[in-house]
């Protein structure tokens, strides 16, 4: 087994099921000491599950464990707790900073691992009363900071430091742990500016040069090309390929990530009699910004034609979700939004609704539903508030018209085939697919001309998925409704949309036809379309 000595970490034939859902299937990951290895894949490709297995997270072991073997330095190990992973010298730099702003850099680096010496009380009571040795802690912190080449005082408070430094302190904390051999960076550059990201990549090289292996989870192709030695691509929980960076190209990696899928989710029904015109614009965005945390839109120009099904795709966190949320007035926006030629006053809440725009939110349970209320309430609510439907006027008061509402809800339940015990069932008790149908029913009750649907199939089973997508197509074909589908699932966008805009880093990186090649989609999603064109 001499060959095994070559790798610091070898995960082989890893498979994992959550109940009946196969999330990882025979995946392997091999990393040599001192190399930077990129782990790539779309959202849901299985990257985080693989890392959860590596770190022995409880979520893996409370759901029946996994199949396959893990070897560290050629020895098979059983990692069943995060502590075990730590003891083996495997560390993680979190995507979200685990730092305390009110503590000094030293205190943050040494959190939970303070150096202390015994005193009289601790001898009587126990080690928790030991006095902290602040000098020794500061010395260790200093050393860790020097290792990664960060020049800040170890006694500075984290509160006052620029965001770019925080990541470095996280790294210093991992470095400071004894015997660190492998460090996982989970999308470390997502929140950094360009210059900060460059510094981080530099630090990664420094760390790797000291013999520590790095797993670099990212979707930014240019960063991978710049810093990684080798890479593994996952797709839909399956191992796709392992490549040496020197022997591949950005285009090849993009193709590997997207992959050709043959399935066609929706069969086009009937004849397409629509006539789409570039001069008949339903939604027009100019220099459009949305301040939605985690999904920021940073300057989008887009024209959506009346009567088309328009797709907006891209990876999570890139800003595609910000576009509809901003139009609906749920987050602060800047720039110009025109609906059917009329400028929308985005400072007024509900302005979009009054302009006949409806929205099905991606956050079904958080934004889309009143979980503790009946299906009936959920369906009629928006129309009641926006259009005064389902009310009767008694004197000066506008009261709820239960009879009308019940009749309409019943109709919707039948039309959309919502499986429930009756329209009085609480929305929270329905399955994901039926909840989505209730959300859709509410949007349709508004009689919209333009319908935004965000992540229409997230978390619902395949049957319901098909039904929802078919229904959207039907609305478009039969009622001429302009439908804008925002989704991370490229397959579903490609199966129903006329055009697909890919959003990367808050901007539209390309508007593609659904028949465009995988490489084009892959490069657009990775935000390096321009370079891709040059190469290809």
């Amino acid at each position: 087994m001499a060959e095994n000595r070559e790798y610091v970490l070898q995960m082989e034939h890893i498979s994992k099921k959550y109940a009946d859902n196969q999330v990882l299937k025979d995946v392997s990951l091999c990393i040599r000491p001192g190399e930077i290895h990129a782990l790539m894949g779309e959202n849901g490709a299985g990257k985080s599950t693989l890392m959860n297995i590596l770190f022995g997270m409880p979520v893996i072991h409370t759901t029946g464990g996994f199949e396959g073997t893990i070897q560290v330095d050629g020895e098979t190990v059983n990692i069943d707790t995060p502590l075990k992973a730590m003891e083996l010298g495997i560390g993680m730099v979190h995507q979200e900073f685990m730092l305390i702003p009110g503590f000094t850099v030293t205190e943050n680096i040494k959190i939970g691992r303070e150096i202390s010496h015994p005193n009289l009380v601790s001898r009587l009571v126990g080690p928790s009363m030991e006095t902290l040795d602040l000098d020794a802690m500061a010395r260790d912190a200093r050393k860790a900071l020097e290792t990664i080449g960060l020049k800040i005082g170890e006694n500075a408070y984290v509160r006052g430091l620029p965001v770019g430094y925080m990541q470095f302190i996280e790294i210093a904390r991992e470095i400071d742990k004894r015997g660190i051999r492998l460090l996982v960076f989970d999308e470390p550059t997502a929140v950094l500016t360009e210059s900060e990201a460059d510094r981080l990549l530099e630090a990664m090289r420094t760390i790797a040069s000291q013999g520590i292996a790095i797993v670099f989870i990212t979707h930014r192709l240019d960063e991978v090309m710049a810093v990684a030695n080798s890479l593994t691509v996952l797709r839909d929980g399956e191992f796709v390929a392992r490549r040496e960076v020197a022997e591949t190209s950005a285009v090849e990696i993009a193709e590997l990530m997207i992959g050709r899928r043959v399935e066609k989710l929706v069969e086009a029904e009937g004849e397409d009699t629509r006539s789409l015109s570039d001069s008949d614009i339903a939604v027009s965005l100019r220099n459009y910004y949305v301040d939605m945390p985690g999904e920021q839109v940073k300057g989008v120009d887009l024209d959506i034609r009346r009567g088309e099904i328009f797709g907006i795709g891209g990876l999570a966190g890139q800003g595609k979700l910000g576009i509809p949320n901003g139009i609906m007035g749920l987050y602060d926006t800047a720039g110009e939004v025109k609906i059917a030629g009329k400028t929308l006053d985005l400072s007024k809440l509900g302005e979009a609704l009054r302009s006949k725009v409806a929205f099905v939110s991606e956050d079904r349970r958080g934004v889309g539903l009143l979980l503790e209320e009946s299906i009936e309430q959920n369906i009629v609510f928006s129309a009641l508030e926006v259009n005064n439907d389902f009310t009767k006027k008694i004197g000066w008061m506008r009261l709820y018209d239960g009879k009308k509402a019940r009749a309409h809800a019943q109709e919707m339940v039948e039309k959309l085939d919502i499986r429930c015990t009756g329209i009085h069932q609480h929305a929270g008790r329905l399955s994901g697919g039926n909840q989505q149908k209730v959300c859709l029913a509410r949007a349709l009750t508004l009689n919209p001309e333009i319908l935004f649907v965000s992540e229409p199939t997230r978390g619902i089973d395949i049957g319901a998925k098909k039904l929802v997508l078919e229904y959207l197509t039907k609305l478009n074909r039969e009622q001429g409704m302009t439908v804008i589908v925002v989704s991370s699932e490229l397959v579903e966008l490609r199966s129903i949309c006329d055009r697909i805009a890919i959003v990367s880093d808050g901007k539209v990186s390309g508007i593609l036809s659904p028949d465009a090649s995988d490489a084009e989609f892959g490069l657009a999603m990775s935000g390096s379309r321009k370079r891709g064109k040059k190469n290809g």
């Binding site: 959202n43 502590l83 979190h94 995507q95 979200e96 900073f97 685990m98 730092l99 305390i100 702003p101 009110g102 503590f103 205190e107 959190i111 939970g112 691992r113 303070e114 202390s116 009289l120 601790s122 001898r123 080690p127 928790s128 009363m129 030991e130 006095t131 902290l132 984290v158 509160r159 965001v163 925080m166 999308e187 997502a190 929140v191 939605m292 945390p293 985690g294 999904e295 999570a316 966190g317 979700l321 949320n325 991606e362 956050d363 958080g366 934004v367």
Partner: protein
């Protein structure tokens, strides 16, 4: 440029200290309006500071551990009163009786603190309202205990079988007020300085010997020289007390404020001079000479001020209960030392961010419970100090306002829901109680009605808490709103834990 910066700094400081400054002006204003002599107010004030500081200091640990203002200290006060009732019934008196009461109250308070902490772990984020309601709930149980169970279920009778004099004439239920004069009144206040020195001597000897023994058992090197010197030093100090002049001085239990100031000045000067000699001359290390000089100068000015007639008269009129003040000082030191230990650091981490603490492998729930136990035990001791000074136990009323007043004091000193220090606690007690003493008198002088001043100070105590809570919520709101929908989880989180 430099001037502007200083000005900016000053305005920032004023803004930060606005609560304190408002109360400083309010206190001074009321003091002037009340037309009371300084000697009277100072005397009252030092008594009240001795009485209340311990309770207020007991609030600091939960604040640092992120539990907010601990309205649950009422429960600690109840533990103290249960213990005190029992020892009063047994007729234990003096410092011995007091110590037995403490020994009895402590396990009770530990148990109560554990319960309160467990409850608070179930209502994370609503600890303050929970603590407040818990106080009322516990008051119900307390009344049930004192009104019906004592005497009704558990008999409290004299040896001859007649109902104890502590009980109501029917024999069921405890009387409204218990007189502590024959038992523990002033038990702690009247411990003489001589006894204190003696006790300190034995403690130092015991600690040194114990420490050496530990090291021997663990087979570690023992610094015999240091051990010997410590014991010798302690012995010398102890021996000094046998000099008749010193002995007579130390035999008293109260210390004239003038003497206290003189001793403080002397110690400060000696300490700074010692530091100067040690660092600047012996070690030749870097040393802030200016600061050292400034402190000595300040001490000198303070001493000079004692010769001002008005101040002198105040200083000779006020006498401090030495032991009580030492206890308060010891608690300050304890709070400080605790934060320098592993446990204290864990508490601070939990207080700043439960998520980070959890990720660092700290048992968040356990740490919070320990913080509550500390606070409850300290509160029970604080209540005993308070009661031994007051001299009567209002059975059904003594505990009800404990949390209210202690928390208001802490906030007046400039503390907030998330940050509190010893200094703020002491400053708060001084300001709050100055207002407490002079407000009714000022009300009488200004409006011809003492009740207005009385109501005003009650309003202040509620108002300052309402304001602190509102300001805390106000500040907390901003970062929370931006975190509601985080898709993909790439939003930077440090703001959230700020």
């Amino acid at each position: 440029m430099d001037k502007n910066k200083n000005l900016h700094k000053l305005t920032a400081w004023i803004f930060e200290q606005k609560v304190v400054l408002i109360f400083v002006f309010l206190s001074i204003g009321a003091l002037i309006a009340s037309k009371q002599s300084m000697a009277f107010v100072a005397g009252e004030l030092f008594t009240r500071v001795a009485r209340n500081s311990f309770l207020v200091l007991s609030l600091i640990i939960p604040v640092l551990a992120g539990l907010g203002l601990n309205f649950g200290i009422v429960v600690g006060a109840m533990a103290a009163q249960i213990a005190l009732f029992l020892t009063t019934f047994w007729g234990l008196s003096g410092i011995g009786g007091f110590l037995v009461t403490v020994a009895l109250a402590t396990p009770l308070a530990v148990f109560f603190g554990f319960l309160v902490g467990s409850l608070f772990n179930k209502i994370k984020g609503a600890e303050m309202i929970g603590g407040l309601v818990l106080g009322y709930f516990a008051d119900g149980l307390y009344q049930l205990l004192f009104l019906f169970i004592f005497g009704g279920v558990i008999p409290f009778r004299n040896p001859d079988g007649s109902p104890s004099s502590l009980m109501t004439p029917t024999g069921v239920g405890v009387k409204n007020t218990l007189d502590l004069t024959p038992t523990v009144k002033y038990a702690l206040d009247t411990v003489s300085m001589l006894s204190i020195v003696e006790i300190a001597f034995y403690i130092v000897i015991a600690a040194t010997v114990l420490s050496a023994v530990f090291r021997l058992v663990k087979k570690q090197a023992v610094d015999w020289k240091k051990t010997g010197l410590t014991i010798l030093g302690a012995a010398v100090v102890y021996a000094l007390t046998f000099i008749p002049a010193i002995e007579t001085f130390l035999a008293a239990d109260r210390l004239m404020l003038l003497r206290a100031v003189e001793i403080a000045v002397l110690v400060t000067v000696l300490w700074q001079a010692g530091r100067f000699v040690w660092f600047a001359l012996v070690k030749k290390a870097e040393f802030d000479k200016k600061r050292c000089l400034a402190v000595i100068l300040a001490a000198g000015i303070l001493y000079a001020l004692t010769y001002v007639d008005a101040i002198y008269r105040v200083l000779i009129a006020v006498r401090l209960p030495v032991m009580t003040y030492l206890c308060i000082g010891a608690l300050c030191l304890f709070n400080q030392a605790l934060m320098r230990t592993r446990l204290g650091q864990n508490m601070r981490t939990v207080g700043q961010s439960r998520v980070v603490a959890n990720a660092a492998g700290i048992d968040v729930d356990r740490t919070r419970i320990i913080a509550m136990i500390f606070s409850t035990v300290l509160a029970s001791w604080g209540q005993l100090i308070y009661l031994q000074n007051i001299g009567t136990l209002a059975t059904y009323g003594a505990h009800t306002q404990v949390g209210q007043f202690a928390i208001a004091s802490l906030l007046v000193g400039g503390a907030s829901v998330q940050k509190a220090t010893n200094k703020q606690a002491i400053l708060g007690v001084v300001l709050f109680h100055t207002l407490f003493i002079v407000a009714p008198l000022a009300g009488k002088e200004l409006f011809g009605n003492a009740m207005i001043g009385e109501y005003f100070r009650v309003f202040i105590s509620y108002g300052v808490i309402a304001m602190a809570l509102a300001m805390h919520a106000w500040k907390k709101k901003a970062p929370k709103a931006s975190l509601q929908v985080v898709e993909g989880g790439t939003s930077p989180s440090p703001k959230a834990s700020a």
